[in-house]
Symmetry: C2
Subunit: 333 residues, 2 copies
């Protein structure tokens, strides 16, 4: 562990020149002669001079730091988005600060406040579940930093948004099942209250009403993770079901397990498709058909959008939609 970093002042003292000369030389100013430049640069290198970022930030009013607020880390989707954000930011002069809101409104608000006082230049975030339930969005407006929302966005806020075509994807997946002669299609989720989940369910309903003239929807299973398996078992016993669409990662795992436990053969008796990490899906038996949100891409676009805004404030607020990909594997036909 070395000493604290050497400063311009100390370098100036050593060479008996002014601080401004040192500063200019190290910034390759044309005002300084080549001779002194090289002399100063050598000394700086010798002492391993590193400019104090804090001072630069204070001076410039910028920090080249982006805050990413995600509701949860126990979730491949957000991990992938983070990966996408990181890959773009790593190639830029920016850093990432991460905050986990634990789906809590208070945590989200606190993170926003804590980071708005000069620490970061802008935010990339996905709205916490509790915030969506409360419909309380003032904390977003009370920061003077630009925000890019992804996946879970606030409809009536003007800011950049990177969204997913939830409605269309599930509509398409449902229609595909129908075309393969599935008529009794259930849907399962461990998450409520999220607009993205609601859009997915709407896509499902629309497909059923448009293609099967179905008007009542009694095969929608919304239960927390620890209950969903039992609930599903009851339904599987009570009704004929030939396909299940699962709307989140853990619902997908639970559905697969439950259907196997009840000894239905997949996909001949029951077809399965749902939201899940591709890599995990590949290693399940049978390989799980997925709706892939393309999280990495979402992260990349979100990061690019925020950096663009930070560098050029004049842009119109963007609303970008990233299409999900349907990857049919062994649980559908």
């Amino acid at each position: 562990m070395s000493q604290n970093n050497i400063t311009l002042k100390e370098l100036a003292k050593i060479l008996d020149v002014s601080i401004s000369t040192i500063s200019k030389a190290l910034n390759d100013s044309h005002e300084i002669s080549e001779a002194t430049k090289t002399k100063i640069k050598e000394l700086a290198k010798l002492h391993n001079y590193q400019p104090n970022k804090l001072a630069i930030n204070l001076k410039s009013g910028k920090t080249k730091t982006i805050a990413v607020l995600i509701p949860s880390i126990q979730n491949y989707f957000f991990a992938k988005v983070l990966l996408g954000i990181e890959s773009v930011v790593a190639k830029s002069p920016y850093n990432i600060i991460i905050g986990i809101t634990n789906e809590s409104y208070e945590d989200e608000k606190e993170n926003l406040q804590k980071l708005s006082n000069g620490i970061v230049d802008g935010f990339i975030l996905s709205v916490a579940e509790e915030t969506q339930i409360k419909q309380e969005f003032n904390h977003f407006k009370n920061t003077n930093k630009p925000i890019v929302m992804f996946d879970r966005v606030v409809k009536n806020m003007t800011c950049d948004k990177v969204m997913v075509n939830d409605f269309d994807s599930v509509y398409e997946a449902t229609v595909d099942l129908i075309k393969n002669n599935r008529k009794n299609i259930a849907i399962a989720t461990t998450i409520n209250n999220l607009s993205v989940i609601k859009h997915r369910i709407e896509g499902y309903k629309k497909a059923l009403s448009a293609h099967l003239n179905q008007v009542e929807f009694d095969l929608i299973v919304e239960e927390p993770l620890h209950l969903i398996s039992d609930k599903l078992t009851n339904i599987l016993k009570a009704k004929k079901i030939d396909a299940i669409i699962s709307l989140d990662e853990f619902a997908s795992l639970a559905v697969l397990k439950t259907v196997k436990q009840n000894n239905f053969s997949i996909p001949s008796e029951i077809a399965l498709i749902g939201y899940m990490d591709e890599k995990v899906a590949t290693y399940l038996t049978p390989e799980f058909s997925t709706i892939d949100q393309n999280g990495v891409q979402i992260g990349e676009i979100a990061a690019k959008t925020l950096i663009d805004r930070l560098e050029n404030k004049a842009l119109e607020p963007q609303e970008i939609i990233i299409k999900s990909t349907i990857n049919k594997k062994a649980t559908t036909n």
Copy 2:
């Protein structure tokens, strides 16, 4: 979006008092009369005054920010550690900056440099794979900030370390299999070059030599993820195997799938145990027996250790070992 934050200077102007008076009043100094204090505080609240963190940081030389450098985010283990770190840090005045090193030495070095210039007070990190291969650790020594290493640590560096009892855990798991009459135990990993993996393999070897007098070890499968399944299939066809221990998350998934594909019954013919996220393990069929590294706890301890060091530099370097937990489920007996 509001204006930029109001400053002490501006508040001072409004009330026609000095900047120092404002500063002291807002910091509840006893030097200021109650009357002016309340007046100033009200005005500050009215204007939603937020002290500029950057200025405070520059003044104090501290940032109350911790950097966490992880090799990968596509990995439940690191996600859990992050969760543990975050839960501790959220209750403190500190923030977290995250960097992902992508198992690359260069990325790791760059992150360390980028963040050492005043941006963070200290680091929590797990060494990148490439760094371990290169055995190049000077970038860790060249920062003047305290480091807490977890899981993948550098043996010959004096710094705080939070480690896992890799040798013992796999030794124990192996012995348990032996006691259940498994004599042909294979081991599978998709990762090489990591000391933690080497320790795990040593634990396996020691158990076999101590309890079965085995001296040759030809059932060690070290292959990248895309090859491991084929390699394992060959071995399953060529040799009698009655148990497999898998040393990382994706190896565990691959092993389970491959054994099923080759129509061995689990656990009667082949028992399985390995490193994997508990929650995922529960949703596999059959439920997977795991060695759980207790990542959340590792994160918590690492964060506490670093904060302790930042608040009190006098401490001796700590080496803390977090014991892994063996959770037997349906793939062992």
